[in-house]
């Protein structure tokens, strides 16, 4: 006998609702089953540490890039105007990327 079923409720976007309806219709699966599988996948993934969240400590550079790093150690460039403005605290928000 399966585990007792309970109802959950929550708001989703119109787009997600439409995609759920379409997937259920095309696959023949019940929406409750799809939702349970999706939630199980989400929670399981959140419990683990996905590879995308790991930041490797070592970055192996191509020869040209490594040489460039060394070149900049030995022969520094003048700071850019943007860097100077950033460290003064007056870099314009217009010069920052979307999401900053």
């Amino acid at each position: 006998m399966g585990e007792e079923q309970v109802q959950v409720s929550g708001y989703v976007s119109q787009t997600t609702k439409r995609r759920l309806d379409e997937f259920a219709r095309e696959s023949g699966l019940k929406k409750g089953y799809i939702l349970e599988q999706a939630l199980d996948e989400f929670i399981s993934a959140a419990d683990a540490l996905p590879a995308e969240y790991l930041v490797p400590s070592t970055i192996v550079l191509a020869d040209e890039s490594y040489d460039r790093v060394v070149e900049r150690m030995l022969h520094p460039a003048e700071p850019t105007a943007g860097l100077a403005a950033l460290l003064r605290g007056d870099l314009s928000a217009d010069q920052a990327p979307e999401g900053f």
């Binding site: 930041v55 490797p56 400590s57 970055i59 460039r68 950033l86 920052a96």
Partner: protein, 173 residues
């Protein structure tokens, strides 16, 4: 702008940057990475009980398998220590207020302090494609990474800034 280490008590669940992946990172993994694993430290800009922005930093190194003789004569033959800017995001309600700029400037100052205390030659950032021009205006240069790049999608562009370039601004220049 106050910037401090992430605390267990910080309310990170409400953080919404527009990137679900990075929001999940802050809400689910950042504290564990910092407190239990010690693989990175997240610094936040607190806004009341919420987080307005954050940056996650980690120590890293730049090795090269075959250091040429010309380099070996003037530099040690071991990996070059760097600070890696691994994650940076600003809550959508606080975007446009300069928080991202403040977190980047903070990162450079942490890198300089790291240079003074344990050694650090530069900062590596894994920039999303739309942010590459921003970092380039700060003096970061593109690098080609053969291994160790971020697995985030869309694939970020590894960029590097030498701390020697910023010495006049950060240090004793």
């Amino acid at each position: 702008m106050q910037i401090r280490r992430l605390r267990a008590s910080d309310s990170t669940e409400a953080f919404t940057s527009g990137d679900m992946g990075i929001d999940r990172f802050l809400g689910t993994h950042a504290w564990r990475n910092q407190d239990a694993l010690g693989i990175g430290v997240t610094y936040v800009v607190p806004a009341g009980d919420l987080v307005a922005g954050f940056v996650t930093l980690a120590a890293g190194s730049l090795p090269r398998d075959n250091v040429p003789e010309s380099v070996g004569a003037t530099l040690p033959r071991y990996p070059l220590p760097v600070l890696r800017l691994a994650r940076l995001a600003v809550d959508s309600r606080a975007q446009g207020e300069g928080i991202g700029n403040g977190l980047v400037a903070f990162t450079l100052r942490v890198a300089w302090a790291m240079r003074e205390k344990v050694g650090c030659v530069g900062v590596v950032v894994d920039a999303l494609p739309h942010a590459v021009a921003y970092y380039e205006q700060l003096g970061f240069e593109r690098m080609e990474a053969l291994a160790g790049g971020s697995a985030v999608r869309p694939r970020p562009v590894p960029l590097y800034l030498s701390l020697n370039d910023a010495r006049k601004l950060l240090g004793d220049g």
